[in-house]
Subunit: 123 residues, 3 copies
Amino acid sequence: MITDTIVKEFPEIGEIKIGILNIFIQHTSAALTINENADPTVRKDFETFINDLIPESYSKFIHNYEGPDDMPAHLKSSFFGSSVQIPISQGKLMLGTWQGVYLCEFRNFGGPRKLVLTAMGSS
Amino acid sequence: MITDTIVKEFPEIGEIKIGILNIFIQHTSAALTINENADPTVRKDFETFINDLIPESYSKFIHNYEGPDDMPAHLKSSFFGSSVQIPISQGKLMLGTWQGVYLCEFRNFGGPRKLVLTAMGSS
Amino acid sequence: MITDTIVKEFPEIGEIKIGILNIFIQHTSAALTINENADPTVRKDFETFINDLIPESYSKFIHNYEGPDDMPAHLKSSFFGSSVQIPISQGKLMLGTWQGVYLCEFRNFGGPRKLVLTAMGSS
């Protein structure tokens, strides 16, 4: 969950009266999505389910020289997506009560991940 | 299908010469997507297929105190996404002939859903 | 992979100092996604996996008068999405080293596909 980090590290959100925050991840084996921000079991269930749906053991993958977790990570990345867009009003993110931003790491040993944040609108 | 409602309730679209409409749903058990707007059997097949893919009967979910339809709804929400972006040209949405905006309700008894619409561009 | 075509055909990207490029596909049986741009086996594995996940042989589809590949194409389209957003900085797309834009054709005999490109930001 990276919502708090984003708000803290990107004070430019506070200067926008009406607009959009775009968050983009510069990687193909991780993703961004918006989901339930309160109960950590939701994130646990996400991981369990997606690992069953797109398993490392799927026998037809031919792109496997970076390890069995690589190709599943690419697929999961496109299932969830590389960016999220969040409306801004009066300097605040217009997330619903239960919404938070997930950074989904799909590699078993992922390194640091780079995000690009862009806020647009009228100030 | 909510395309007509959006166009009717958000006349600001008509003031944009070139730009983007962002539609955002403030919930984690419903989603927005763009798909076939003509034949209602497409929406029926969406529901049948996604319920088979992410079934309430999946035995490993631990987040289940809100009922068996809750965790599947969270997952479906992230599969389809919380927002759609549609180009605007000369005050009109640039949807393709067969495209419409779906509001996907994933709870068995969902309540009212709130959307945030943001139109940006040059007027 | 359409990254190079986009950059070449849409020189307006070069005029944006900070902003966002939105790419939108006006079809419901094709999609856009961002993924690994180097090794073509990734794209091959995408196709193999998604065809197994959403098979033409799924027996419950009722929307099938356009052929057995039509309804799977609609579903795949919403799984991957109709648009991508890419940050622009100093006239260049801020894609990660391994990221490229995929145009995913899901029909067996798809025709030409129309994209709408919109660049917004400060110049």
